[in-house]
C-alpha cells in the first residue's frame, strides 16, 4: 500500500469522527437549498405606489384604476398632498409616487398635452428602474386608448405602429427557482469545500501534529493529495444530495447531461479545494485561514453572477470575475441545466478551470514546506 492510502484512511476517519461536521455537510445544504431559493425572487410584482391626485377628474380616476388593476402595482396611499405620500417613501411603505397635477384632464383636452410626475425611491436601482418602466408603459397604453377614443375614426393607421412580440426561451414561465437552485448549490459546495480545506492543514499546525508529519519522509504531493481527495469526494456527494433535493423539491432535472455537470464539478472542486489548501499553507492559525477564506468567499459569491449580472459590471470588475471560479461554475450550471448545453459548448470554461486547478494545486504543493 502506498503511503497515500494511509493518509487517505486517516483523513476519512477524522472527518467521519466529527459529528458536527457531518451534520453541517449533509443537513446544511438540504435546508439551505429548500429555504434560500424561495427568498431569491427578484421578480418585481408588488411595487408599492402612493398616488397624489390633485385633479380628481374622470380621467385621473380612470388612469388610477388602470394602474391599480395591473399586476405590478399595489396602491398603498391615496391623498391630495405630496408630503403625505413622501412619508410613505421614508418609511419604506411606498416605492414610488405618482402625482397627477390639478388640470391634468383639462390640459389634456385643451392643450392636447399634459404631464404627470413620477418620483421613485431609487436607492435600490433595479426596482426603481423597473417600477418606472412599468408605470410609463401603463401610462403610454392609457394614452393610446385615450387617443383612439378621442380621435375621429377613419384615419386608421395614419401613424406607424410597430408591434413587438417577445418570447422567453429556456424558462418560459420565468421561474426563478430554475435559476437560483443550481446557483445556490454552487455557492454551498464552494463554501463547504473552501472552508473545510482552508482550515485543515493550519489546524494541524495549531495543534502541533504537523511537526510529526514533517519529520517523516512523507512526499509533499502525497500529503496534499491526502488532504484533497477526501474533501473532493465529499464535495461530489454534496452535489449529488443537492441535485436530489433540486429534483424532489423543485422538480429540476438538467436538460443537459448530469455527466457534463459532474465532469465540470470534479475539476471545479479540485480548484476550490486546492485554493483552500493554499490558504492553509500560508496561514499561521485557523483564524487567519478563515478570515481569508471568508473574504474570498464574499467576493466570489457577490461577483459570481448569481445576484448581479456580470455584464453590468465595470470593465475592471469583469476582468476580476475572470478569476472567479464561482462565476464559471454558475454559468456552466445555467447552461447545462437550463439550456441543455453539452461538453462542446462548455469546452472553454472546462479548460480554464482545469488551468486553475493545476496552477493552484501545484502552488499549494510548492508552498507547503516541511522545513522552515
Amino acid at each position: 500500500m502506498s503511503p497515500l492510502a494511509y493518509i487517505l484512511q486517516k483523513e476519512f476517519k477524522q472527518i467521519f469522527r466529527d459529528p458536527a461536521i457531518i451534520r453541517v455537510i449533509f443537513i446544511l445544504p438540504i435546508i439551505q437549498l429548500i429555504l434560500l431559493p424561495m427568498a431569491a425572487d427578484y421578480e418585481i410584482k408588488n411595487i408599492n405606489i402612493a398616488i397624489v391626485d390633485r385633479d380628481h377628474s374622470p380621467s385621473s380616476n380612470r388612469l388610477i384604476h388602470t394602474i391599480t388593476s395591473s399586476n405590478y402595482f399595489r396602491l398603498v396611499a391615496y391623498s391630495s398632498h405630496f408630503n403625505q405620500a413622501m412619508q410613505n417613501i421614508d418609511n419604506d411603505r411606498a416605492d414610488l409616487i405618482l402625482e397627477l397635477p390639478s388640470g391634468f384632464e383639462s390640459e389634456l383636452y385643451a392643450q392636447k398635452e399634459t404631464r404627470v410626475f413620477l418620483a421613485v425611491n431609487a436607492i435600490n436601482g433595479v426596482k426603481a428602474n423597473l417600477g418606472a418602466t412599468y408605470l410609463r408603459s401603463i401610462v403610454q397604453n392609457f394614452n393610446n386608448d385615450f387617443r383612439i377614443s378621442v380621435l375621429t375614426p377613419g384615419r386608421f393607421n395614419d401613424l406607424p405602429v410597430i408591434e413587438t412580440t417577445s418570447s422567453n426561451w429556456y424558462n418560459p414561465r420565468m421561474n426563478y427557482t430554475f435559476f437560483m437552485v443550481p446557483g445556490i448549490l454552487v455557492l454551498l459546495i464552494t463554501m463547504i469545500g473552501l472552508n473545510l480545506s482552508a482550515i485543515n492543514i493550519v489546524r494541524e499546525k495549531e495543534i502541533g501534529t504537523i511537526e510529526q508529519i514533517n519529520v517523516t519522509p512523507i512526499r509533499k504531493t502525497h500529503f496534499i493529495l491526502g488532504k484533497l481527495i477526501p474533501f473532493w469526494i465529499l464535495g461530489l456527494v454534496v452535489i449529488t444530495i443537492g441535485f436530489a433535493v433540486a429534483w424532489l423539491v423543485y422538480g429540476i432535472i438538467p436538460l443537459g447531461s448530469y455527466l457534463t455537470i459532474y465532469l465540470f464539478a470534479a475539476i471545479y472542486l479540485l480548484a476550490i479545494l486546492g485554493l483552500g489548501l493554499l490558504i492553509s499553507t500560508y496561514a499561521e492559525n485557523q483564524q487567519q485561514a478563515m478570515l481569508i477564506s471568508f473574504f474570498l468567499l464574499m467576493i466570489f459569491i457577490l461577483m459570481g453572477g448569481l445576484y448581479t449580472s456580470i455584464d453590468s459590471m465595470p470593465e475592471w470588475a469583469q476582468w476580476v470575475t475572470r478569476f472567479n471560479p464561482v462565476a464559471y461554475f454558475i454559468e456552466v450550471m445555467r447552461r447545462v441545466v437550463l439550456k441543455g448545453s453539452g461538453l462542446a459548448d462548455i469546452r472553454q470554461p472546462i479548460l480554464i478551470m482545469l488551468g486553475f486547478a493545476i496552477v493552484i494545486n501545484y502552488w499549494a504543493v510548492l508552498s507547503y514546506r516541511k522545513r522552515s
Partner: protein, 246 residues
C-alpha cells in the same frame, strides 16, 4: 561506515537577527544516549529541529545518520524518529489508527504493521485500549505511546524533545526503561530534558547556554570537573552565566 550517528560543526541558526543557535559543534556516537541540556530558551529545540530537517540552518554543517541536513533532509527523515514537546499524535484517532497511520507513511509493509502493532500493544499492555481514542488516555500513556510510534519504524536515531514533561515519577521511570530498551537495540537516543536526575541516565551530556554548548562530557566527568555532587549543581553553575532567559 562511519561510527558517528551525528556530526555537527559550527551549526548556526539566526531568526530575524536573533542568534538562536550560535555555532555549536559536537558528535554523537552510534548507540549512545546523548543528553542535550539547557535552560529554557537556550536553543535546544531549535538545534534539534535543524537536525531533524524541520528547520533550515543558517550556516555550519551537520550530518545525521550519514546524510547532509542541507541536501538530504528527506533521507534523514527515513532514518530518524522524533517526538516533540507538544504531544503530536492525533487525538481524534484511536491508538491503533495512529500507529497504523505513521507506520504507513514510513512505508512499512501492511503484514508487518499488523504483527508489530500487536506486539507493541502487548508490550505497552494497551491491548484492551487499542480502539480507544487517544484523547481518552492519561498523559503518561500518551507519552509512552508517542515514543513507541516514534521508533516504530526502527530508526537509527530518535530525537526526544522533553519527552517526560508533566508526567509522574513512576511513568518517568517506565519511560526511561523504554529508552534503555531502544538504546539496547542499537538506536541512538538524542534527548533534551529539564530533569537533572534524567541527565544522570545519559551516556554523555551537553549543556547549552545562550545558543552555545558550554560543557560536554559524561555525567561523571562533568561532576568531577565542576566539583559538584550532582548534575543539578553542575547545571546551576553553568546556567547561571546565561544572559538571556525566557
Amino acid at each position: 561506515m562511519n561510527s558517528k550517528a551525528i556530526i555537527v560543526e559550527n551549526l548556526t541558526k539566526i531568526f530575524n537577527g536573533f542568534t538562536a543557535v550560535d555555532g555549536i559543534s559536537f558528535e554523537v556516537e552510534k548507540g549512545e544516549i546523548f543528553g542535550f541540556l539547557g535552560a529554557n530558551g537556550a536553543g535546544k529545540t531549535t538545534a534539534m529541529k535543524m537536525l531533524c530537517g524541520l528547520s533550515m540552518p543558517t550556516s555550519g554543517s551537520a550530518m545525521v545518520a550519514g546524510f547532509d541536513v542541507y541536501k538530504e533532509n528527506e533521507s534523514i527523515k527515513k532514518n530518524i524518529g522524533y517526538m516533540s514537546q507538544k504531544f503530536s499524535l492525533y487525538e481524534d484517532l484511536t491508538i491503533k489508527e495512529n500507529i497504523r497511520f505513521y507506520a504507513g507513511i514510513y512505508g512499512i509493509r501492511p503484514e508487518l504493521i499488523t504483527s508489530k502493532t500487536t506486539l507493541l500493544l502487548e508490550q505497552l499492555t494497551l491491548e484492551k485500549e487499542a480502539n480507544l481514542l487517544v484523547k481518552q488516555l492519561p498523559l503518561g500513556w500518551k507519552q509512552k505511546l508517542a515514543f513507541s510510534v516514534a521508533i516504530f519504524h526502527d530508526p537509527q536515531i530518535v530525537f526526544l524533545d522533553e519527552p517526560t514533561g508533566g508526567v509522574d515519577p513512576i511513568t518517568r521511570r517506565d519511560f526511561w526503561n523504554m529508552i534503555y530498551d531502544a538504546a539496547a537495540k542499537g538506536i541512538t537516543v538524542f534527548v533534551t530534558t529539564h530533569y537533572m536526575d534524567e541527565a544522570e541516565y545519559c551516556d554523555r551530556v551537553s549543556i547549552m547556554v545562550d545558543g552555545q554548548i558550554d560543557a560536554l562530557d559524561t555525567p561523571g566527568n562533568l561532576k568531577s570537573s565542576f566539583q559538584a555532587g550532582s548534575m543539578d549543581e553542575v547545571f546551576l553553575q553553568i546556567a547561571r552565566k546565561a544572559k538571556r532567559s525566557e
